[in-house]
C-alpha cells in the first residue's frame, strides 16, 4: 500500500486516531509520519482526558445505582448524554454545562483546582457579574469583621450589601 500523504512511497506506519468518537485511519510512509509529528505544536492537553473521565466515572460507579443515573443524564438542548460525554471528552453545547453540572464540577476541580471563573467577563454581563463579585467580597469582609468583633464596621458593610442586592435584583443593571 502506498503512503496516503505523499502517495509515492510504501506505507509502513499505521496511525489510528479517534476524533469525536469517529475512528480515522491513516497509512503513511516513515518519512511522512515523522514530518507530521514535527513542529505540530498544537495546544493539546498533556494528560489524557479520557483517563481522567474514566477514573472519575469509576470512582462514582463504585457499587452505585447513582452512577447509572448519572450516565443517563442528558442535555435537553443538544441531546448529548453524560455517558457520551465521558467517551468523547467534549460537551455538545453551552447548555450541557447546566445539565451535567453536578458531575462536571468535581471534574473541573480536578483539572483546574478551581471551579470559579476569575477572569474576563463579556461586556454584556459585566455589570451584573461585577456586582456579584463585589457582593461576595463584601460578604467575606463582613464575616471577618464579625469574627474580630468590629460590629460597627460589620453593620456598615451589611447596609452596603443590602443596597447592592437591591440593585442587582431590582433590575436596572
Amino acid at each position: 500500500m502506498l503512503c496516503q500523504e505523499c502517495g509515492k512511497e510504501e506505507a509502513t506506519v499505521y496511525i489510528s486516531k479517534i476524533i469525536n468518537g469517529q475512528k480515522s485511519e491513516l497509512h503513511l510512509c516513515k518519512r511522512c509520519a515523522r514530518e507530521r509529528e514535527e513542529l505540530d505544536f498544537t495546544f493539546q492537553p498533556q494528560f489524557s482526558l479520557h483517563n481522567l473521565f474514566g477514573t472519575l466515572l469509576n470512582e462514582s460507579m463504585r457499587g452505585s445505582r447513582e452512577a447509572l443515573r448519572a450516565a443517563k443524564l442528558q442535555c435537553p438542548d443538544c441531546g448529548l448524554t453524560f455517558a457520551q460525554f465521558s467517551q468523547i471528552g467534549r460537551l455538545g453545547c453551552s447548555n450541557c454545562y447546566g445539565a451535567f453540572q453536578e458531575k462536571l464540577i468535581p471534574l473541573l476541580r480536578r483539572i483546574h483546582g478551581s471551579t470559579r471563573h476569575g477572569g474576563k467577563v463579556p461586556r454584556r454581563s459585566q455589570s451584573s457579574v461585577r456586582l456579584k463579585r463585589e457582593l461576595e467580597r463584601l460578604k467575606e469582609e463582613m464575616q471577618q469583621r464579625v469574627r474580630s468583633e468590629e460590629f460597627e464596621e460589620a453593620a456598615r458593610l451589611r447596609d452596603q450589601i443590602r443596597k447592592l442586592e437591591q440593585e442587582l435584583h431590582g433590575g436596572g443593571v
Binding site: 505523499c6 505544536f41 467534549r90 462536571l104 483546574h112 471563573h117 477572569g119 454584556r124
Partner: protein, 351 residues
C-alpha cells in the same frame, strides 16, 4: 500548480525582546456562540450559521486589514502551509466543517471559525511578548463580541467544548530555543518542575532521546480560577527563569568550549549551504546549531529573521508550496537544501 509566493508572518520577522531564547509568544482564546451546538455536534447548516454570524460581526472598520480564507476554497497544501506557520491548527485544516480563518495582513492575528470551538482568536508575536499578544487577542475578542452573544456562565466563565478550556478559554505559550540546557542535560529537571506550577512543556522527540531542533513549547495548563493577567504573569515569570538558566548554561559552554561551539555552528552553516540532500530533522538540528552560534556572537551570515524563516520553509507542505509542485519524501530531501541555500544567499546580497 504555479510556484507561489511565501509571505513572512509577523513572528518570523526577527524583532522582539529575548529573541536569543524565545522564538515566539502565542495567546489564544476559545469562544462559543450562545444557542448553537459546538461544531462537532452541529449540523452543516448550523456550522454555516456560525460562519455567517462571525463574518457579519467582523464586518466592522476595525477588520479592514483582515482577509477571510475558507477551508473549502483553500488547496490542501495551502492549508498545511498555514499550519506550518502556526496560524491555524491541524484540526481546522483537516477536520473542520465550514471551517474558516480570518487573518490579519501581518499574520499576527488569526481568528479560526468552527474549530473545536466556534471561535479561536489567536495572536502570535516574535520573542517574549505575552502581554502584547494578550492585548491584541483581547481587543479583537471585544470587537467580535459587539456582534456576537458569547456563551458565558458567571461561575465557569466562557463555556467551551472541552472542559480543559473552561473559564478564561486562554491558552498562552512560548516557543523556546534551549540548546545549552539540552546539551548539558539540565532540561528534564527544569521541565518536570513545570507541572507543579500549572504549566506544561512539550518538546519534539526524534528517534533518540534528543529534542528535535532544541525547541520546547511551554504553556499554561489551567484556564479556570485565575485571571488572564495571573496566567500570563505566571507563564512570563517562569519563562524568564528558564531564560536565565539557559543563559547561564550558554555562558558556561562559552567559557569551557568556545572553540567547539563555534566550530559546530560554522560546520552547520556549511552543511546548510552546501548539502545536496537533507531531511527535516537534520535541518532543524543544523538551524539550531547556527542559531546558538549567532546568539553567542560566534558566527555571521545569518540573522533571526532568516533562521525563523528556515524553520518554516523546511517543513513538508511549505517546501512543496515553494517548489510549486507535489514532492515525494526523497524529492523533498532534495528540494530542502535548495530552498535553504536560496534564503542564505539572499541574505548575503542584502547584508
Amino acid at each position: 500548480m504555479a510556484q507561489s509566493k511565501f509571505t513572512l508572518s509577523r513572528w518570523m520577522e526577527g524583532n522582539g525582546p529575548e529573541l536569543g531564547t524565545v522564538i515566539s509568544s502565542r495567546v489564544r482564546v476559545a469562544r462559543n456562540i450562545e444557542g448553537l451546538p459546538f461544531p462537532y455536534l452541529a449540523s452543516a447548516e448550523q456550522n454555516r450559521t456560525v460562519l455567517e454570524k462571525v463574518i457579519a460581526a467582523a464586518g466592522q472598520e476595525a477588520f479592514r486589514d483582515f482577509t477571510w480564507k475558507t477551508m473549502e476554497e483553500l488547496q490542501p497544501l495551502e492549508k498545511q502551509v498555514l499550519v506550518e506557520k502556526h496560524l491555524i491548527s491541524p484540526f481546522l485544516a483537516r477536520e473542520a466543517d465550514h471551517g474558516a480563518v480570518l487573518l490579519r495582513r501581518d499574520e499576527a492575528i488569526s481568528v479560526m471559525v468552527n474549530e473545536e470551538d466556534h471561535l479561536r482568536i489567536q495572536a502570535i508575536m516574535p520573542g517574549l511578548q505575552l502581554e502584547e499578544a494578550w492585548m491584541e487577542a483581547d481587543r479583537y475578542d471585544d470587537l467580535l463580541e459587539a456582534g456576537i452573544n458569547y456563551a458565558f456562565d458567571e461561575h465557569c466563565g466562557y463555556l467551551t467544548a472541552c472542559p480543559t478550556n473552561f473559564g478564561t478559554g486562554l491558552r498562552a505559550s512560548v516557543m523556546l530555543h534551549l540548546p545549552a540546557l539540552i546539551m548539558t542535560k539540565q532540561i528534564n529537571r527544569i521541565l518536570s518542575a513545570l507541572s507543579q506550577v500549572g504549566l506544561t512543556a512539550r518538546g519534539l522527540y526524534g528517534e533518540g532521546t534528543d529534542i528535535i531542533g532544541n525547541l520546547v513549547q511551554v504553556s499554561n495548563q489551567i484556564t479556570l480560577g485565575q485571571s488572564e493577567e495571573e496566567i500570563l504573569r505566571n507563564l512570563g515569570s517562569i519563562t524568564r527563569q528558564i531564560i536565565e538558566h539557559e543563559q547561564n548554561a550558554r555562558q558556561a559552554l562559552l567559557n569551557e568550549n568556545r572553540a567547539q561551539i563555534a566550530d559546530r555552528a560554522w560546520r552547520a552553516l556549511g552543511l546548510l549551504k552546501y548539502a545536496q540532500m537533507m531531511n527535516s530533522q537534520e535541518a532543524m538540528q543544523l538551524i539550531s546549531d547556527v542559531r546558538l552560534g549567532f546568539d553567542l556572537g560566534l558566527i555571521k551570515g545569518v540573522n533571526h529573521k532568516i533562521l525563523n524563516e528556515l524553520l518554516v520553509i523546511i517543513r513538508p507542505a511549505t517546501l512543496q508550496y515553494l517548489a510549486g509542485k507535489e514532492l515525494s519524501g526523497v524529492e523533498r530531501d532534495l528540494e530542502r537544501p535548495k530552498q535553504i541555500r536560496k534564503r542564505l544567499n539572499q541574505f548575503k546580497e542584502s547584508a
